[in-house]
């Protein structure tokens, strides 16, 4: 695996996390009246960032074994929960941190070869 591939593996995780934050922001409580543009803008930005992630990921898959690049997905839960805590002010419990660390460890083990 080249260092460029590793760089792209890490970079695309940030696109994924950014995309998720915008999607959550857009969808949260859509059963209440909200300014029209707000939902559309969040969905657009979220899907745009997820698309960037998607095309980078697709090309990483072309040149590498799925089981080789998958460990990088292990960064996701930690990055995302940190982001949800920081930007969306979601309440975190000790249980959720323990669960997330277990999941991350598991993802690395599942895919590290």
């Amino acid at each position: 695996m080249t260092s460029l591939a590793i760089f792209f593996c890490v970079a695309c995780q940030f696109f994924l996390v950014g995309g998720q934050l915008f999607l959550k922001r857009a969808m949260h409580g859509t059963d209440r009246p909200r300014p029209k543009g707000e939902v559309a803008r969040g969905l657009f930005l979220g899907i745009f960032l997820q698309s960037l992630w998607f095309f980078i990921w697709l090309n990483l898959l072309k040149d590498n074994n799925l089981s080789h690049i998958f460990p990088f997905e292990g960064l996701n839960p930690v990055l995302l929960v940190l982001a949800a805590w920081l930007f969306l002010k979601e309440r975190m419990t000790v249980d959720s941190w323990i669960g997330i660390l277990l999941i991350c460890g598991g993802i690395f083990l599942v895919s590290a070869s």
Binding site: K24, M27, L43, I47, K62, L86, I103, I107
Partner: protein
């Protein structure tokens, strides 16, 4: 975020009640997380199959990254991904991101299994240990939720 400094999000609403049992079950956001995880895993395996399929048409220069779109597998994978995205958007209406996202990580159990079964990729023996860790992690997060649901 475009909405300025993040304000605390208001509490999460409950999904609509008074539907037939099966519909209510399907509309349960936690069931949707599982359905979405299965769709996303199928999508991932199909994309890997499409990306590795023999290139039917080579594209010149800067468009090389569109080559995998020449495979039908890629398109089925995309459909599966889009369905999982719709399911995910539904989940986000009702569940906090810091709860939903760790739970959706069961895809990391389904994907290596799918890669092994359908793509014949060799999966190292640590697979089972990793899968166990992920499942334990998911349970640690889901357990307080299940208790809360029972009380309702």
């Amino acid at each position: 975020m475009t909405d300025g400094p993040a304000a605390r999000l208001p509490s999460h609403p409950l999904p609509p009640a008074n539907r037939p049992a099966i519909v209510a079950w399907l509309l349960n956001p936690y069931v949707q997380i599982l359905i979405g995880a299965l769709l996303a895993s199928a999508g991932e395996v199909l994309l890997a199959k499409g990306a590795k399929a023999p290139v039917s048409r080579t594209l010149a220069g800067p468009l090389f990254w569109l080559e995998p779109l020449g495979s039908g597998w890629t398109w089925i994978g995309i459909v599966s991904y889009v369905l999982s995205l719709l399911s995910w958007l539904y989940v986000l209406r009702y569940v906090a991101l810091s709860v939903a996202f760790p739970l959706i990580n069961v895809v990391h159990v389904f994907v290596p299994l799918g890669a092994k079964v359908f793509l014949h990729e060799t999966v190292p023996p640590r697979l089972w240990m990793g899968i166990t860790l992920i499942l334990v992690g998911v349970l640690v997060i889901a357990r307080p939720l299940m208790k809360a649901e029972k009380k309702l």
